[in-house]
C-alpha cells in the first residue's frame, strides 16, 4: 500500500439558512492555502428550506499526494466512526450527529452551539413540546474525544455576525486542524463578506472555549418589584404574615400567587386567594396531605393564581401600558439608542370581550340581544390597530386599565368567580376518596388559556372533563383517566382527540377499571 496517511474528515450539521456553506467555504480555502487538498460536498435541495443538512469535507496533505504521485480517493459522505471533527450549528443537530454515530471517543472533536432552534413539532404543541436537551450534552461528553459547547448564536449576535464565524473560532481553538490561528483569519479576510464582524466573533470564540459552563440559557428569575423605601404596606405585611404560616413546601407558588394577584388587582384580592387556598389546605391536611408534601395545595396555589388572574381586557390594557413593557420591546427589537421605535398592537376584541367588561346585567343583555350583538358585531368585525406609543393610543389603553377598580363588578368577574368556586368544590368533593384525582382536577386548569375562541375552546374542554368526572366513581384509575383526558385536550386544536377519548370511555365504562 502506498501510504498510511488518512484524510482529516469534517462534518458540519446545520439547518438551511444557517450559513453552513460559508463555514464550509472558509475551511476549504483555509486548507487549500495551507498545503492541503480539500474535497467538500453538500446536499442542497429542499433541505435548504429550514430542514437539517450536512456539509462534508475531507482534507489530505499535498505533500503526500506529491510523494505518491496520484490523487487520493476521498469520500463524499461521512461514515459512522470515521469523523475527526463534527461541527453542529445547533444543539439538537449535535444530538443527531451523535445518534448517527459520527461522534466517537477515539477521534472526534465535537463543536456544538448549545442554543436551541426549536423544530416545528416542538413549537406547535398545545402544551409543552420542548425536547430534553440535557441528554445531548451528556451524550456529547461521553461520545466525543473533545467537546466544545457554548451558546454560539448569542456570541454571534453580540458581534452582529453569523454563527459560522463563532464555529470557526471554536474550531481554531481546538487545534483539531493543523493550521495556525492566523491562517483562519486570513481565510475570513479572503471570504470578503462582513470581515470585521466575523473576525471579532472569531476572536472571541477562540478565547472563549475554556469556559465549559454552557447549556441553553435558562429562564431568568422572575422580576421582583423593589420594596418601597418606607417599608411594606400594612396590607402587604399582613399577606406576608399569612404566607409565613403556610407549610414551607407551598412558599414558592403561594408567594408568586400573592405577588401576581396584587399586581393584577389589589391586596384584598390576594387575601381572597389565600382564603381559598386555606380551605384547600385544610382538606389536604385532613386527608394525609402532609405525607404528600401538600401536593394538592401546592398545585392549587399555582393554578388558582393563574385562574384568578384571568386575562380580561383590563389586564391586557394594563400590561400593554407598563413601563417595564416599553423597556422590554426596545430590547427585543434590539433598537440602538439613536433609533426610534414605534409600536402597533394587533387587537381584536369580540362582542364577548366588550359585553363581559360591563356590569353583569348590561353585559348579559347585550350578549343575549341579537340586535345589540349584531350592531357591536359589525363594529368588531375587523381587528383594531392601536399605536401604544402615541398619545391617543396610550391614553385609550391607560384608561381601559383604570377600569381595574370596577373589575369585581364586571360580568366576566362574576363568570370566572363562579367557575373557580365550582372547580374548587369539585376538588374538595373528591379528595376524601381519591387524593390523586383531586390533584389531576386541579391541573386541568392548564387547559384554559388563550383568548377569544382559543379560550372558549379550552373552557369547553375543561368543562367536558369536569362533567365526565362528575359521573365517575372515584377510585383506582380515575386520576389516570383525567390525566389522559388532560393530554387529549392538548393534543389538537379542534378538540378531536378529547371527543374521541370521551366517546370511547363512555362506551366502555369497564376500561375505567382496567386503566
Amino acid at each position: 500500500m502506498a501510504t498510511t496517511t488518512r484524510p482529516i474528515t469534517i462534518a458540519i450539521l446545520a439547518m438551511g439558512g444557517q450559513g453552513g456553506g460559508v463555514l464550509s467555504d472558509w475551511i476549504i480555502d483555509l486548507a487549500e492555502r495551507n498545503g492541503y487538498l480539500a474535497q467538500a460536498t453538500s446536499v442542497p435541495g429542499v433541505a435548504q428550506r429550514t430542514g437539517a443538512t450536512i456539509y462534508y469535507i475531507e482534507l489530505f496533505p499535498e505533500q503526500v499526494v506529491r510523494q505518491v504521485g496520484r490523487e487520493p480517493v476521498l469520500a463524499l459522505m461521512p461514515v459512522p466512526g470515521d469523523v475527526d471533527v463534527v461541527i453542529a450549528a445547533e444543539l439538537m443537530e449535535a444530538g443527531r450527529a451523535i445518534n448517527r454515530g459520527f461522534v466517537t471517543p477515539d477521534r472526534t472533536t465535537l463543536i456544538a452551539s448549545t442554543h436551541r432552534d426549536y423544530a416545528i413539532g416542538e413549537k406547535m404543541a398545545l402544551g409543552d413540546g420542548l425536547r430534553d436537551h440535557s441528554k445531548v450534552i451528556e451524550a456529547g461528553r461521553q461520545a466525543a474525544k473533545q467537546f466544545i459547547y457554548f451558546d454560539m448564536a448569542a456570541m454571534a449576535e453580540q458581534h452582529h455576525s453569523v454563527i459560522s464565524s463563532v464555529l470557526l473560532g471554536a474550531l481554531a481553538s481546538t487545534k483539531a486542524l493543523p493550521f495556525p490561528r492566523a491562517a483562519y483569519e486570513e481565510a475570513i479576510r479572503r471570504g470578503g463578506i462582513g470581515v470585521e464582524a466575523s473576525l471579532a466573533a472569531f476572536a472571541t470564540a477562540c478565547s472563549h472555549t475554556d469556559d465549559r459552563a454552557g447549556g441553553p440559557a435558562n429562564n431568568e428569575p422572575p422580576p421582583t418589584e423593589p420594596a418601597a423605601a418606607g417599608g411594606l404596606h400594612p396590607e402587604v405585611r399582613a399577606l406576608q404574615g399569612r404566607l409565613h404560616e403556610l407549610p414551607s413546601q407551598l412558599t414558592f407558588y403561594a408567594t408568586e400567587g400573592v405577588r401576581r394577584l396584587i399586581d393584577y388587582q389589589d391586596p384584598a384580592y390576594a387575601d381572597h386567594y389565600l382564603d381559598r387556598l386555606q380551605t384547600v389546605l385544610e382538606c389536604d391536611r385532613n386527608h394525609g396531605g402532609a405525607e404528600r408534601d401538600y401536593e394538592l395545595t401546592n398545585e392549587t396555589a399555582r393554578y388558582l393564581a393563574l385562574w384568578m388572574s384571568y386575562e380580561d381586557t383590563i389586564r391586557v390594557a394594563d400590561l400593554k401600558t407598563r413601563s417595564s413593557r416599553f423597556r422590554r420591546f426596545q430590547e427585543e427589537v434590539q433598537a440602538r439608542p439613536d433609533q426610534l421605535v414605534q409600536v402597533t398592537e394587533f387587537m381584536h376584541p369580540r362582542v364577548e370581550e366588550i359585553g363581559e367588561t360591563l356590569p353583569p346585567r348590561v353585559g348579559r343583555w347585550i350578549l343575549s340581544s341579537s340586535r345589540a350583538r349584531k350592531l357591536l358585531g359589525y363594529a368588531t368585525r375587523r381587528g383594531r390597530f392601536v399605536r401604544t406609543d402615541s398619545i391617543s393610543g396610550f391614553t385609550l389603553l391607560f384608561l381601559l386599565a383604570r377600569l381595574r377598580r370596577w373589575r369585581r363588578r364586571t360580568l366576566r368577574f362574576e363568570l370566572e368567580d363562579g367557575r373557580i368556586e365550582a372547580w374548587l368544590r369539585q376538588v374538595r368533593a373528591v379528595i376524601a376518596e381519591d387524593y390523586a384525582l383531586a390533584v389531576e382536577l386541579v391541573r386541568c386548569q392548564r387547559i384554559i388559556k388563550g383568548y377569544g375562541e382559543t379560550h372558549a375552546r379550552g373552557l369547553r374542554s375543561f368543562e367536558s372533563i369536569m362533567n365526565f368526572v362528575d359521573g365517575l366513581q372515584p377510585g383506582t384509575g380515575a386520576a389516570d383517566l383525567v390525566r389522559r383526558l388532560h393530554e387529549a385536550a392538548l393534543a389538537d386544536d379542534e378538540g378531536k382527540a378529547l371527543r374521541a377519548l370521551l366517546t370511547e370511555l363512555k362506551q366502555k365504562p369497564l376500561s375505567i377499571e382496567s386503566a
Partner: protein
C-alpha cells in the same frame, strides 16, 4: 437572479490547457462541455442540477464568445426536443435536468430521439436525486435507458473522471449514433475538487451553417417503415458499436488486487464510498490500492460482456454493488455468467439492501457480510460487528425531526393559513397539491394537501372531482409549474371540460424551490430573457372568466374571503386566484444590502418587525399552528406560574406582518405587536417622540404608583 450567483466563479471557465481548475462538480461539467466543442445547451432546473443551470446562465457571455447557444427551456420536454438539432447535423448538444422526474417529463422527445438516432453527439446530463435529502420518488433512470436504448454513464465521483465522462460521452454518442446520459449523484454535483483543464473548443460545425444548408433524412423520422428499422438498428448496429467503443477506450476500469479469487463489480458513482469502506476494513489505502480486485462500471448501460467474463473468469465469488432497484445489473451479471458457464458465485442484493441509498455505513455492513461468506480470513477479528453504545440510541427520541418548511416571511404561508381559516367556516376541503415550495404545506404545521401528481399538475390532479353540486376541491399550482405545463394540463383542461374548479396559482416571481431562477412571469428584468408576462392574461387567454389577482398575499382577510368566494360562487367554469407576492428569500437578498447602504449613508429608514408580549402570551401557540414561521419560536415561560413555553419572535423576523394578520383574522390574542424601528430619524420624528415619551412616562408614573406601594419584600 438566482439564489446563488456564479458570476465570479464562471471566470474559471476560461482556463486553458494545463491549468488546475478548482471548483464544484457542476462547474467542472460546464468546463468539460466547452472543452468538447458543444454547440448548444439547454435544460430545466431542479436539484441537484439547479446550479448547473445557474452557472450556464451566469456564463452566458463566455458561451456566446464560443458560439454556444444556451436556453432555459420551458420544460424538460423542450430541452430533450432541442437535441433534435443533433439528428441531422454534426452538432454537439447537451441538455440537463433533475432525474427521474425530469426524465419522465422528457420521455416523449427522448424516445423519439433514441429511435431515430443522432449524428452529432447528444449528451443528457442528469442530476440523480436519490437518497438522503431527496424530494422525489425513489426510482432509477436506469430503467428508462434500457427501454429506449440510451447509454448510461455513471463515472467515478471525482472531477477528472466526470470531465472525462463528458468528453468521452460525446464521442460515444457520435460513434454509436445514440444519445448518451451522464448520471451525476447529488453529492457529485456539488463536490468541490480539482482537475487539469484543457482549452475550450468551438464547434467545428455551427448552428448558422445548419440553417443555411438544411439537411433531411426520412429514415431518421419515427414513421413506418423507418420506425421498425430503428429497432433493428439499435440492436444490430448501435449497441455492438457502443460496446466496442467502450472497450477500446477503456471507459470501464479494472483495478487489480492480491485477493484474485474474489472481486467487486460496482457502479462508478459508488467508487469513493466503496473504497472508503474497504479502507475501514483494512483492505485498501487512501490512494485506491485495494487487496480485492475491482471492476468499475463507469458505463452502466450497456454492459460489456467480454470485460465481465474476463474479470470473473478466475473468481470464486463476486459482489455486485448496485444502488437502487430493481437489480438490473445483478440480473444481467447472472445471465452473462450463466451463458458463459462461469462458476463465480454472484452476490449482490443478498448482502446489500435491495432499496435505498448506499451510504458508507450500508456498504461497510454489506462488504462485511460478503467477506464473511467469501473470504472470512480477510476480516480482522472483531471487525464483523459494530455496535453503538445504548446512550446514543436513546437520543433518537430526543432529537426532533426537522422537516423543510416555508422560509421566514414567505408569501405562500398566508395562502395556507387562509385555507385553514376557510376550512373552519366551510368544513374540510380536498386540496390537490403541486410541486414547489408550496408542497411544504402538506407537512406540519399546516398539514394541507391530499396529493401531488407532478410539477404543474396540481389542477390536473383534481379533474376527476368534476361532479356537479359537490364541495369543490382547491388545486394549488406554482408559477413555475404553471408555465411548465399547468396552463394547458390544468387551466385549459378545466375550461374545455367545463369544470367549476378552484385553482390557486402561487406567483412568487421565481422558480423559487429550485433556487430562484427567473421564469416568464418574473417581475425582475433579465438581460438575456423576456420576463414580466402576466399569468392572469394567459389564464384569460385560454378562456377563464373568473380570475382574481391578489397582489399582496399577506392580506389574510382578503385571501380568505376570495377563497370563500371561489368555493361558493355560482358562476360556471374554473375559478382562478393568482396570489402574487415576491419570494421573500429573493426579495431580502435584493433589498437588504440597499437598506444597509441607505442607513449607513444617513438616510431615514423605517424597518418593521414583529414581537410577542410574553406578559400577555398564555402559551397556547395557536399562532404557530397557523403559521410555522421559522422566526416565530418559543422560549421557556418567564412566568414562574405558567407551565407552558411562550411564543417569541426571533431577530430573523423580516416584518412580513403575517403573525399580526393571523392574530386579527383568526381572533387569536392581543400579544402581537409590530415595531417600526426608525433609523436616522429626522427632527420631526425626534420632537414627536420626545413629546410622546414625556406624556407616556408621566401617566405610567401615576399608573404604577400602586405597584411600588404594594411591593412585596423579595423572598
Amino acid at each position: 437572479m438566482a439564489e446563488r450567483s456564479f458570476v465570479k466563479e464562471v471566470q474559471k471557465l476560461r482556463q486553458g490547457e494545463g491549468e488546475v481548475f478548482h471548483g464544484e462538480g457542476i462547474l467542472a461539467v460546464t468546463k468539460a462541455l466547452l472543452q468538447s466543442g458543444v454547440a448548444y445547451i439547454s435544460g430545466y432546473q431542479g436539484a441537484p442540477i439547479s446550479h448547473l443551470m445557474d452557472v450556464l446562465h451566469d456564463a452566458n457571455d463566455i458561451l456566446e464568445e464560443l458560439g454556444v447557444r444556451f436556453e432555459n427551456s420551458a420544460s424538460e420536454a423542450t430541452a430533450a426536443a432541442s437535441l433534435a438539432a443533433s439528428v441531422n447535423y454534426p452538432l454537439r448538444g447537451a441538455v440537463t435536468w433533475k432525474s427521474v422526474v425530469g426524465t419522465n417529463v422528457a420521455s416523449d422527445a427522448l424516445a423519439n430521439l433514441a429511435s431515430g438516432g443522432v449524428t452529432g453527439g447528444a449528451l443528457i446530463i442528469i442530476g440523480e436525486d436519490y437518497g438522503e435529502g431527496s424530494s422525489i420518488m425513489q426510482e432509477r433512470t436506469h430503467a428508462f435507458v434500457m427501454k429506449s436504448q440510451i447509454w448510461l454513464l455513471d463515472p467515478r465521483p471525482n472531477l477528472t473522471s466526470i470531465v472525462t465522462a463528458v468528453e468521452k460521452g460525446f464521442e460515444l454518442s457520435e460513434a454509436s449514433r445514440t444519445p448518451v446520459m451522464l448520471e451525476l449523484r447529488i453529492r457529485a454535483c456539488h463536490v468541490h475538487g480539482r482537475f487539469v483543464a484543457k482549452d475550450n473548443q468551438r464547434s467545428r460545425f455551427t448552428l448558422q451553417q445548419a440553417m443555411e444548408e438544411p439537411q433531411r433524412d426520412t429514415s431518421r423520422i419515427v414513421l413506418p417503415p423507418a420506425a421498425f428499422q430503428h429497432e433493428q438498428e439499435k440492436v444490430g448496429e448501435r449497441w455492438p458499436t457502443a460496446v466496442r467503443f467502450i472497450q477500446e477506450h477503456k471507459l470501464n476500469e479494472s483495478f487489480d488486487g492480491s485477493e484474485r479469487d474474489i472481486g467487486l463489480i460496482l457502479q462508478g458513482g459508488l467508487y469513493n464510498t466503496v473504497l472508503r469502506s474497504l479502507e475501514r476494513l483494512g483492505l485498501a489505502d487512501t490512494f485506491g490500492d485495494s487487496r480485492i480486485p475491482l471492476y468499475v462500471l463507469n458505463v452502466t448501460y450497456p454492459l460489456c460482456d467480454d470485460e465481465i467474463k474476463a474479470f470473473c473468469a478466475d473468481k470464486k465469488a463476486v459482489l455486485m454493488i448496485e444502488e437502487g432497484q430493481p437489480d438490473f445489473l445483478e440480473q444481467a451479471l447472472n445471465s452473462i455468467l450463466r451463458k458463459a458457464d462461469l462458476q463465480a458465485r454472484v452476490s449482490g442484493k443478498d448482502c446489500l439492501p435491495m432499496a435505498g441509498e448506499y451510504t458508507g455505513e450500508v456498504l461497510l455492513a454489506g462488504l462485511r457480510k460478503f467477506l464473511q461468506g467469501a473470504a472470512p480470513h480477510l476480516l480482522a477479528p472483531g471487525a464483523a460487528v459494530e455496535t453503538k453504545p445504548p446512550v446514543f440510541q436513546q437520543l433518537q427520541q430526543e432529537v426532533p425531526p426537522r422537516p423543510p418548511g416555508f422560509c421566514t416571511g414567505c408569501p405562500e404561508r398566508p395562502i395556507f393559513t387562509a385555507i385553514k381559516l376557510v376550512e373552519r367556516e366551510l368544513g374540510p376541503v380536498h386540496v390537490a397539491g403541486d410541486i414547489g415550495c408550496h408542497i411544504f404545506s402538506s407537512l406540519p404545521p399546516f398539514n394541507i394537501g391530499n396529493t401531488t401528481m407532478g410539477y404543474g399538475l396540481g389542477a390536473a390532479g383534481a379533474t376527476a372531482f368534476n361532479v356537479p353540486g359537490a364541495r369543490r376541491p382547491i388545486s394549488i399550482m406554482g408559477d413555475g409549474g404553471f408555465w411548465h405545463n399547468g396552463l394547458t394540463s390544468g387551466i385549459a383542461n378545466a375550461v374545455f371540460n367545463k369544470y367549476d374548479s378552484v385553482t390557486v396559482i402561487i406567483d412568487n416571481g421565481y422558480a423559487a424551490a429550485t433556487g430562484g431562477q427567473n421564469i416568464l412571469s418574473s417581475r425582475a428584468s433579465n438581460p438575456i430573457r423576456a420576463t414580466g408576462k402576466s399569468i392572469e392574461q394567459a389564464v384569460r387567454g385560454v378562456g377563464v372568466k373568473w380570475v382574481r389577482t391578489l397582489t399582496r398575499t399577506y392580506d389574510l382577510a382578503r385571501m380568505r374571503d376570495t377563497l370563500k368566494q371561489a368555493l361558493t360562487s355560482s358562476e360556471k367554469g374554473p375559478k382562478v386566484i393568482v396570489a402574487s407576492s415576491e419570494c421573500m428569500l429573493n426579495r431580502q437578498r435584493r433589498e437588504k444590502p440597499l437598506v444597509r447602504q441607505r442607513i449607513n449613508s444617513g438616510q431615514r429608514v423605517v424597518q418593521e418587525r414583529f414581537g410577542v408580549d410574553s406578559d400577555t402570551c398564555t402559551g397556547d401557540r395557536a399562532c404557530i399552528r397557523l403559521s410555522g414561521c421559522p422566526s416565530l419560536s418559543v422560549k421557556p415561560n418567564p412566568d414562574p406560574l405558567r407551565p407552558d413555553p411562550v411564543t417569541y419572535v426571533k431577530n430573523s423576523c423580516v416584518g412580513c406582518g403575517h403573525c399580526g394578520e393571523v392574530a386579527h383574522a383568526a381572533v387569536l390574542c392581543p400579544s402581537f405587536y409590530k415595531a417600526q424601528v426608525i433609523s436616522n430619524p429626522n427632527v420631526w420624528d425626534r420632537l414627536l417622540s420626545s413629546a410622546r415619551h414625556r406624556f407616556i412616562t408621566a401617566l405610567q408614573r401615576i399608573g404604577e404608583r400602586r405597584l411600588t406601594k404594594y411591593a412585596m419584600s423579595s423572598g
